[in-house]
Amino acid sequence: MELKTLLTSVAIVGFSAGLVSAQADVTLAVEGEVISTSASAPAFAENLDTVYSGWLFRKLETRSLQMDDFDNPAFVFVDKGIDLFEKVDGTEGKACASCHEDVEDFVGLRPAMPRVEDGTLVTMENLVNECRTERMGAEPWKYSGGQMTAMTALIGLQSRGMSINVAVDGDAAPFFERGKDLYYQRVGQLDMSCSNCHEDNYGVMIRADHLSQGQINGFPAYRLKNAKLNSAHARFKGCMKNIRATPYKEGGDEFKALELYLAARGNGLSVETPSVRN
């Protein structure tokens, strides 16, 4: 009995220590510009008081990579995105730059994505591929492929530092509810939902990993484990494999709805695209 009490108290200390290191007073300054990494939780996230960026849950070395655009390996891919933006492709003989003169025109797009257009939920990837197939006459890019993530990172970068502000009412409401259901739905052999880790246990270690809140404000994110940019959907897939579930399809309705719900959970956080994670 005594041993059990002792173990429990150790566990509690461990838990709070994890939270403290996650919530320590640290500031993310990218190229000298301060970006807020926490915000009060949106009202619908009734189990959270504050939302924290995943940046706070990473080691100091990883955090510092994101603070300097030269050190941030994602910028190799952003540069590829710039080349792709100028590159003519498809039967219409157009590049992105033919219509969108300057990529800076996309300021403010990333914080509002995904959004509902004419009754369908669209992500940034959908918008890019819609342009490619309908206006450029080109082949669509693979949803989480290198070209796509380079482009979404470039577009997202334009809005870095802006507050995430995803609409959840009106047309978006049914998709939001679907995403919420998926978030709390236990799946897979391990019978776990997103919330089991990212809501009930953020701040604690799951083996060697420091559990974050699973915010997607930094996606597409450069991950040190695979040395490339990762789309949010690719990350969802990774999570689902970890809990031994059969992942939904990248770009499918389930993941799009989940992306909307997760993005909305981060309403108030800043866009960190492209972020660095492990």
């Binding site: 030269f70 390996p73 190799v76 540069d79 590829k80």
Partner: protein
């Protein structure tokens, strides 16, 4: 020429005479080691950056030999003393004979 090679360099714009500055360089390159095999079991030929040289006003700063075990997108960070205003010249040598060059000027503040 290997595809998608792009040198990147970060040098402060100004420095005090005699100051030690930190220089960061990165070149995007696939750095194919020559030990990997393709789907048919044939070796993929080696294709790496084999030498990296930095000169300041024609005086050598560093000269690095790179080996196949160095991973994709080689990154170098080093310190250099700046005695006078001038220009850093960066040169990367590819296995296939290509040479990638870039340069950065620095002023004395």
């Amino acid at each position: 020429m290997a595809k998608g090679v792009k040198p990147r360099v970060k040098v402060p714009k100004t420095a005090a005479a005699g100051e030690t500055i930190t220089i960061k360089t990165l070149i995007s390159h696939k750095m194919e080691s020559g030990r990997r095999k393709d789907a048919d079991g044939n070796f993929i030929p080696r294709s790496i950056i084999n030498r990296f040289v930095v000169d300041f006003n024609d005086q050598n700063v560093i000269d690095v030999t790179l080996e196949p075990a160095i991973s994709t997108n080689p990154y170098f960070q080093f310190d250099a003393v700046v005695p006078e205003a001038g220009e850093f010249k960066f040169t990367w040598y590819d296995d296939d004979g290509s040479v990638y060059e870039t340069s950065k000027k620095i002023k004395i503040a």
